[in-house]
Point group: C2
Chain length 348, copies 2
Amino acid sequence: MKKQLKQNDARNRRIVLNSRPVGAPRDDDFRLEEAEIPQPAKGQLLLRTLYLSLDPYMRGRMSDAPSYAAPVGIGEPMPGGTVARVEASQHGDYNAGDLVLAYSGWQDYALSDGQGLVKLDPAMPQPSLALGVLGMPGFTAYMGLLDIGRPQAGETVVVAAASGAVGSVVGQIARLKGCRVVGIAGGSEKCRYVVDELGFDACLDHHSATLPQALADACPQGIDVYFENVGGAVFDAVLPLLNVRARIPVCGLIAHYNDQSLPPGPNRLGLLTRTLLVKRIKMQGFIIFDDYGDRYGEFFAAMFGWLTAGKVKFREDIVDGLENAPQAFIGLLEGRNFGKLLVRVAPA
Amino acid sequence: MKKQLKQNDARNRRIVLNSRPVGAPRDDDFRLEEAEIPQPAKGQLLLRTLYLSLDPYMRGRMSDAPSYAAPVGIGEPMPGGTVARVEASQHGDYNAGDLVLAYSGWQDYALSDGQGLVKLDPAMPQPSLALGVLGMPGFTAYMGLLDIGRPQAGETVVVAAASGAVGSVVGQIARLKGCRVVGIAGGSEKCRYVVDELGFDACLDHHSATLPQALADACPQGIDVYFENVGGAVFDAVLPLLNVRARIPVCGLIAHYNDQSLPPGPNRLGLLTRTLLVKRIKMQGFIIFDDYGDRYGEFFAAMFGWLTAGKVKFREDIVDGLENAPQAFIGLLEGRNFGKLLVRVAPA
């Protein structure tokens, strides 16, 4: 991606999929395009992106392998959740200046017919939260942990990517429910944050060659809930420690998103199935808005209360400029971000 | 196992674990012993075994690998569900002649203090049913399918070992619930029985090299419930056909019970987890009496009604003589039985 134009009031920049990645996405897989700023017709409104959320699921959309959502077409804008301001409206329900949560993708401006928009309080001091702890990642953590994981006081909950947008919330809710919470994160700085700031009981560095033993030591009573958002070596370390009747919500597998083929053997599939059987474990995948869309209000009320009371903390990792989204996204898949990754596309 | 004594009124024969099997159990892994018939003390009763149930889970008890139940010790009698008659009683709740469901194992006689016994109607025309369609296998089928599988009318249900004690009941209940039911069984004779007698919509031979394609053809709408009691190549064929929100109750993995090490690669564990995620699938292991013991009455009432109305059919494969239990059990793990495998230990 070569062009490095800055956001402006005259032209619409958008970042489109230039080619399907082979393995890890590269800068060349994205392309920055420029076009006229579109004008809203009757019933439409024009959105100006303030914040763009970058999330691991986007890697799946770049591939044309079968998945839960259709792939992005070559030449189409990358999709993504945004916080946007209404610039101009020909829609009865919206006025210029309104703040909305949208799904308008990696671009400066977008037209909308209002479908799928959620109005935000224009006085909201930190509207980016609607993309993080109060949005999709927080909602994913809340429903996956509470509805599938069903943690009970005194149980042990393990969560990987523990300093990330989802994992950080999973662990804090589990602590609020009276669980022992062990995080896994990349590096000592993130681990310190997870324990000192977020209040987890322990946090282990997934780079460590001794992770399996360290995890066993940190979970002397075994593992009752493993919130799966990573896969790979972390899951291998978790598997032998799972307790009878453990629950495994599966919301992501970031360790596998760049896989080009099945990894070498031995084949551990039967070992997993046998573990599910002999320990009567429930393992369940979910896609947050598809499976729990009708419970967003319940989540928002609970999370807003916890935030206001200072019971849930969060951290944002903000990158300035839409033109920097590809590099930021590539870094996300490598674990280079620290907290919820956002692109500030225009000043709020 | 050399001694081939017949059952008699003077001595108690029992089959004990002689050695832990390496791979498939062999005749030498069992030993027939003979001892005095024990006499009941106060509060005890003496049971005489009429029928012994042989079930795949017993393979797990022969190993000392960690599992959901403690292993049988070397020299200890093999465990197993039985239908027995009370020969003598020093227990207030039981009289000589009572018929009971017990867990007295591979032996002619056993003492009991009454714990865990279930009285059967002495006029029951076919008491062996208490070990099959009205017992643990039928209960396993019922709860696994209905509580974890939750089949809806019009959905497609696939079950392996379809002519067996569990699979045959799973498929028939799924038909009663209005599902399309596809069985998988070993050989054309079993497949014919499954379709012609049990009323499944289709049945495929798992020996076929073209099983994956045949299964895809038999499930044009995909698979909504896969009742897992086999594992191995059948599961590999099922995996790509699973629908969004499919459910997989796991009650057994007979294809793996004799495994001595993990099979060669590629490692398909991540593929399974990814499938659970992108299709939001629930996969859950269960152990029937541990997880659903309090719902046996509900099951019994429903199944008794279906049997009486002729809506559920069953088939028993009865072997005569306790001394033949080891060979019959070895055959069970190879799929040589046809229907619920029982040993007739003494005339009813």
